[in-house]
Structure formats: C-alpha cells, structure tokens
C-alpha cells in the first residue's frame, strides 16, 4: 500500500477544507441569529461554553421545566454563600425592613417604573419547590415564593428588541439572562422562602430564582433590572461579573 498523496486526494481535501470553513462561518451566523452564542464566547474555553449553551437552547426550546418537589422534601438546612452586603445603603434598608426599598425597572421598556415590596406582593404570587445546586457541589431543596419575572416584564411593557435582562444587586455580583430564561414560567423574583420572608442571607428583599441553572445565577439583593438589546456595552461586555472571576456566564451546566 502506498502512502503517496495523490493530486486528486489533495484537491479533494482542499475543497473539503474550504467547504468546512465556509460551513462554520454560516453556522456561526445562524447561531448568532437564533441566540445560541453566549456573551462569554471568546477564548479556548468559549468553545465549550458556546457548545453547551447553544445545544441547551436547542434542547430546551420546547417543554423544559425544572423538577419540582413535595413539601416533605424541603431541606432542613439551606446554607448560604457569603454575607449580605455591608454597605450603609443596604444595612439601613435592612434595619427598616426594606420599607424604603424600591426595585427600578428600566432600559428597553415602554413604561419604566419602580416598585416597593408591597407593590410586588400585591401581584399574583407563585410558589415553587425546587432544587438548588451550588457550583461547589452541595445542594438543597427549598420553597420560593414571588412573582414570575414575566409578569413584571409585561407590566413595564418590555420592548420586542430587548434580548437580555440585566440584574444589578446591592453587592458586586451583577448578572444577566437571555429572554428565553427571563420569560420561562419558573423564573421568579422571590421575596419569600419556605413560607416566611426571604432571609437576608438568602437575598432579601428580592432575589432572582433561575431553577434551570446553578445557584450562583440566582442573583440576590436585587436593586435594579435593565433590559438591553446587546450586552457588548454593559460593564465588561460578558454579561456578568462571573467571567471576570473565572466562572461561566451560562450556568445550566
């Protein structure tokens, strides 16, 4: 058997390579259009991030509901990572049981607004008993009560060009989710936990709950929500503080 590479083989390989490269270009364009590219797609690890996020978005396009549990399965221990913000602003709000707290909702919305905790509690509540896994490996089950983020997006009339929802908390861990996650029926703005008020350590007065992603995506101590059409000009351009400290923007895993 000869190992000599014939002219025909070379020609064929060249054509295949050209087709492959243009195919990749077309695939990237289609992926971008259908929202299959995460904001932290750069670099070597970005390849893995993009494959995971893109394939999840395709898989989860139809029915996809985080598992829910019974009351008996609620964990007796629900640990927290980190302490509530020690800023004067947050500590003063906490001391007065968040009576002066307002949630600001702005950006690509027709009716920018701000809401008190009472305003949010007056809206039809929703509860879920879901599993929360920390990226460190531990996990617990808890009941969360609040309002679907979707309800709030309808109230402020999110504009059709809005593609990302950005969350600013009282600490530095700002983050964002895509519209598919934001509009998902289990994505909650939670003010209650296990039948009581949301404890400070778990994100009082209001936290995000994204049960189809790891715990660190469920941003605590919310202060402001902004809708944008692109994350390129938001802070670091990677959709979250997480990529700056080595963690993925997408935490569906």
């Amino acid at each position: 058997m000869s190992d000599r590479i014939s002219r025909r083989t070379m020609l064929r390989s060249g054509l295949a390579a050209a087709a492959g490269i243009s195919g990749l270009g077309a695939a990237a364009e289609i992926a971008r259009r259908y929202g299959l590219i995460p904001p932290d797609h750069g670099g070597l690890y970005g390849i893995g991030e993009t494959l995971t996020y893109g394939s999840h978005r395709v898989l989860m396009a139809t029915h996809s509901m985080a598992r829910e549990f019974s009351r008996q399965e609620i964990s007796t221990i629900a640990p927290v990572n980190g302490d509530p913000p020690d800023s004067d602003e947050y500590q003063q709000l906490l001391a007065r049981e968040f009576s002066a707290w307002r949630l600001v909702v702005d950006g690509l919305v027709t009716k920018p607004a701000s809401f008190s905790l009472q305003d949010l509690r007056r809206l039809p509540p929703q509860s879920q008993i879901t599993h929360q896994a920390c990226e460190e490996g531990w996990s617990f089950i808890a009941e969360w009560t609040g309002l679907p983020l979707s309800t709030l997006l309808d109230l402020v009339q999110a504009r059709p060009e809005a593609r990302w929802v950005v969350f600013y908390p009282f600490d530095e861990f700002w983050d964002s989710i895509d519209m598919a996650e934001a509009r998902h029926p289990q994505t909650l703005l939670a003010y209650g936990m296990n039948g009581g008020d949301l404890p400070a350590g778990h994100g009082a007065p209001l936290r995000l709950r994204v049960p189809r992603q790891l715990g660190y995506k469920s941003i605590k101590y919310l202060s402001r929500i902004t809708l944008v059409d692109s994350l390129d000009r938001v802070e670091n351009g990677k959709g979250s503080l997480s990529p700056d400290i080595g963690y993925s923007w997408y935490a569906g895993i």
């Binding site: 390849i47 893995g48 999840h56 996809s64 599993h131 990226e135 790891l214 895993i253």
Partner: protein, 197 residues
C-alpha cells in the same frame, strides 16, 4: 511480555481518536479534582450539605480558591472533545468492525469493551444528570439514579474506575515495550523489524 507480532498498523482514525481521548481524559481528571476539592464529600439522594449525614468524606481538604471556575470550563471543553471524538470513533469502529479487537487477548478485549461501552457512557449520563438544564428536559435521567447527589457520587466512582484503567493501561504499555506501542499509536507503524514493517 506480549509478543509484537506482525499485526496491521492502527488505522489513522484510531490513532487520532486515541490521542484526543488521552488528552481529554487527562484534562477531565485534573479539572474533576479541581471541582471536587470545593466540596470533597459525597452524598446519596437529591440533596447534600455540610451538617447532613454524608455517604463518604474523602480525605481531602475543602479548597475554595476559585479553582472550580477554570475547573468547570476545562471539564466541559474536555467533555465536549471526548464526546465528539467518541462519536467519530464508534461510528468508524462499527464501520470497520474494529470492536472485535482481533489483536488483543480476552482480558484486553473485555477491558476495552467495558471502558468504551460502560464506563464512558455512564460518566456522560451521570454528568448530564447533574445539569439542571438537561434534567428540565429529561427528568428521568436523574430520577432513576436516585437524585442529584446520587448522580454526583456515581460520577465520582466511575471516574475513579476509569482513572484506574488508565493507570493499568499505561503500566501494561510500559511493561510490553513503551517505544514500540507508543510509536505504533502515533505513526501507525511498528518499528522496523526483520521481515515485518
């Protein structure tokens, strides 16, 4: 000593997929340990936190220095590489009837079958079962394992079995002629011997 007979060279597909798999397994083990060190404790069922009874406390320290960040990124890059490589390998292997492994003895054939068709699929399954996104689409993959923490525990033990295979595999390669075997897996050819090349 295993007799190096005049067996046919490893096909290009086998050589390329072998080394991609080798690099991926190395990256998966290193990054897997990085992730595990954040919480080196295993549980059974859905939930597990410090303060709850555990199944096994590994004799390792709790390390929380952010290594789980790159650990996860590397783990998933390597997981995608090994899965895509595995798909190419299995399709190629079925087409070439490669899985009869005619050159190997019974123990080797059995071991390689277990690795390719049991350990690696189990690792992928238990890995996917830990993903809240994947289980939102296919909840049964975690339910049949007994829960999220059970999936994590099984993932650990199967990974340990795979790492044991890798150690055994490398020891056998060294014992039976390191240069000849590694050379054959790189170039596809046996080193020049009288009458066989």
């Amino acid at each position: 000593m295993i007799e190096l007979g005049p067996f046919p060279r490893h096909p290009l597909l086998v050589r390329v997929t072998h080394w991609l798999t080798a690099v991926s397994v190395g990256a998966l083990v290193v990054s897997g340990i990085a992730i595990l060190l954040a919480h080196p404790r295993l549980y059974w069922g859905e939930v597990g936190v410090v303060g709850m009874p555990s199944l096994l406390d590994l004799p390792l320290p709790f390390v929380l220095t952010g290594q789980t960040g790159w650990g996860r990124s590397l783990h998933f890059l390597a997981a995608w590489t090994i899965v895509l490589t595995g798909i190419v390998y299995v399709i190629g292997g079925v087409r070439r009837a490669h899985f009869q492994w005619p050159l190997y003895n019974t123990l080797q054939r059995r071991t390689y079958s277990v690795v390719v068709f049991v350990l690696l699929p189990l690792l992928i399954w238990t890995g996917l079962a830990m993903s809240p996104a994947i289980t939102s689409v296919a909840p049964f993959i975690v339910r049949v394992l007994g829960g999220h923490q059970s999936a994590r525990t099984i993932h650990f033990f199967v990974a340990a079995a795979l790492a044991t295979f890798v150690v055994g595999h490398v020891v056998m390669v060294v014992a039976s002629g390191f240069n000849a075997h590694v050379g054959a897996m790189i170039t596809g050819k046996l080193p020049a011997r009288k009458g066989a090349a």
